[in-house]
Each structure stands twice: as structure tokens, then as C-alpha cells.
């Protein structure tokens, strides 16, 4: 047991050395590497919930968009709508005109982002429902990439379809 603990401490030392080397290599990368302290903030609408008892008093979380606002934006075409769900879910049905960027496959979808979602556009992300995280995650990453104006339609696909608003199926 004593020997086991000794090895674990040795293991921690190995990880510290590896981290120091990793940080050094990162700093020496021609591109400058990634920032050691990531600037910016996670975009989250987790506090926003219709069933939340404090919801009446508290306004929507910053950057969050209600169903009514979403419908206005949709009718006016005033924002680029981004669907953060998987490709399969997107093909089964989505808000008409929405661009599909699965939240966990952003590197693969960089071309789509570059071509179809202008940097300076107002972007509205949505996913399945109030409780899903995908739109938060996608919005956070898009802000890191450089999108300035990213909002989240918190109600998502569930709220949109329950309201009976138009939908579209199939790949883009």
C-alpha cells in the first residue's frame, strides 16, 4: 500500500513534468499556441426556465430569446438561425432556413460556418428544448471563434413545434 502511494506521487510528478513541457511547446508553436488563460465567458441560459418560479421576476438571461422574439426574427429574417443539434435530428425537422452546426463537430463544420454564417450577423442558436445544452456550447465556441452577436433561442425545437410554427425537413 505504501509502495502504491509512492508510485501515485511519482505519477503526479510525471504529469507535472508533462504539463510543463506541453506549455513550453505550446508557447513555441509558430501560431503562438492557444491562450493559457481562455478569455471570454461561457454563454449560458441555464438559469432561464419557464417552469422556474423566479422566471416571472427575472428577465431572460442575457442573449436568450423567447418564442415570440424568435417568431419575429424568423418572419423578418433578421438573423442567421443555427441548429446546434445532430445532423440526424436536423434532417428530421428544423426551423426553415436554419444552418446545421452540430455543437460537437464544429471543426468539421468550419467551412459551413465560414460560408453561410457571416461573422457580423446576428446569430441565433437553438437545440432541442429548454434543458438541452447544445446551443449554449455552440454559442460559447462561436464567440471564441469571433462571432460578436450570438443569442440563444432557449425554448428550442420543442417550443417552436408546439407553437405550430413552420418547419422544414431534409438535409440542406
Amino acid at each position: 500500500m505504501k509502495s502504491f502511494l509512492k508510485e501515485l506521487i511519482g505519477g503526479i510528478v510525471v504529469m507535472i513534468v508533462a504539463t510543463v513541457v506541453g506549455v513550453a511547446v505550446n508557447a513555441m508553436r509558430p501560431t503562438g499556441g492557444v491562450a493559457l488563460i481562455q478569455q471570454g465567458q461561457a454563454v449560458s441560459t441555464a438559469q432561464h426556465s419557464e417552469t422556474d418560479s423566479t422566471a416571472a421576476a427575472a428577465p431572460l438571461a442575457e442573449g436568450a430569446i423567447s418564442l415570440a422574439q424568435m417568431k419575429e426574427i424568423f418572419d423578418a429574417g433578421s438573423a442567421t438561425i443555427v441548429d446546434a443539434r445532430s445532423t440526424t435530428e436536423y434532417e428530421e425537422g428544423h426551423i426553415p432556413g436554419a444552418v446545421n452546426i452540430p455543437h460537437d463537430r464544429i471543426p468539421e463544420f468550419m467551412d459551413v460556418l465560414n460560408n453561410e454564417v457571416p461573422m457580423e450577423a446576428h446569430v441565433v442558436c437553438y437545440c432541442r428544448s429548454l434543458t438541452c445544452d447544445f446551443s449554449d456550447l455552440l454559442a460559447t465556441e462561436m464567440k471564441i471563434i469571433g462571432y460578436q452577436n450570438v443569442s440563444i433561442f432557449s425554448g428550442g425545437w420543442d417550443e417552436w413545434t408546439k407553437a405550430g410554427y413552420p418547419t422544414e425537413t431534409g438535409p440542406r
Partner: protein
């Protein structure tokens, strides 16, 4: 019989190659592309946002170091201990995500990998047991610079 199998040097060597190989393969993409792995780390929502990049570098390089050391047999038991600790972190993180009902990219093998699921927990637990066996029973067989040897240094 089973006891002799678990403590055998052949099994120990196989475990070194399988676990070391898995970790080396997993770390390769992440070491080359820390930004993508940091993205996956942020998906877990477990550590402060600002530290996600540093954490991504620490994890991927630790994986790479430990894997190479394990395969070549350099301070073998300490390398296995690093992997043991990393696996505990991974198991805890995946469990925490699953308890919250989230399904995210696990970040296991770099970008576009599998999603968090119980299968990952089983795989990681098996590797955890393997790493434990290496720490406990490695005797320095076919190693470049094994450091401490289990059988000669421990009697318990």
C-alpha cells in the same frame, strides 16, 4: 490460477502495450490540436472556463508522456500511476456529465469522437484495473529503465 495469471509478467507486458497504445493514440490528435480538445473540455462544464485550455494541454501531454513511458518501460510503475490518476479523472468527469443528463462529445480521441456513455465508463474502468495491475506487479521485464520493481521492492 487466476491469481497467477493476474500477476504474470506476460499479462503485465500486454497491459503495458494495450493501455500505452490506447493512450498514445488518444493523445496524438489532442497534443497536435489543443484548441479542439479544449472545446471538448469546455463541453463538460466542470472546470472554470478560463482554465479549459491549460487543462487540455495538461491532460493531453500527460497522456502522451505516460503512454510512451509505459510502452518503452521508463519508470513503468510511475507512468502507470499517471494513467491510473487520469482514468479516475475521466471516470469522474463522464459520470458527472451523465448524472446531469447531458450527452456530449467525450473528447476521448480528439475531435469527432464518441459521445459520453456507460460504455466509456466500462472501458475506462477496465483500463483502471489494468493500470493498477501494472503498478502492483510490474517487475521491470523488457523495460528500458523500469525504476522501482514491484517484486523486489515490496513483500506485502
Amino acid at each position: 490460477m487466476i491469481g497467477r495469471f493476474l500477476t504474470s509478467r506476460v499479462l503485465n507486458l500486454i497491459l503495458r502495450f494495450v493501455i500505452g497504445g490506447t493512450f498514445a493514440y488518444a493523445a496524438f490528435d489532442k497534443v497536435l490540436n489543443p484548441a479542439a480538445f479544449a472545446m471538448a473540455v469546455r463541453g463538460y462544464k466542470l472546470i472554470p472556463f478560463s482554465l479549459s485550455n491549460l487543462f487540455a494541454i495538461a491532460v493531453s501531454w500527460s497522456e502522451m508522456f505516460a503512454a510512451v513511458m509505459l510502452i518503452l518501460g521508463i519508470l513503468t510503475r510511475k507512468a502507470a500511476a499517471s494513467i491510473f490518476l487520469l482514468l479516475i479523472v475521466f471516470i469522474a468527469a463522464i459520470s458527472a456529465v451523465m448524472v446531469r443528463g447531458m450527452v456530449i462529445d467525450c473528447g476521448c480521441f480528439g475531435e469527432g469522437g464518441s459521445h459520453t456513455s456507460w460504455i466509456l465508463l466500462v472501458r475506462n474502468t477496465l483500463m483502471l484495473v489494468g493500470a493498477f495491475l501494472i503498478i502492483r506487479y510490474n517487475d521491470g521485464w523488457l523495460s528500458l529503465f523500469p525504476g522501482t520493481r514491484a517484486r523486489t521492492t515490496t513483500t506485502s
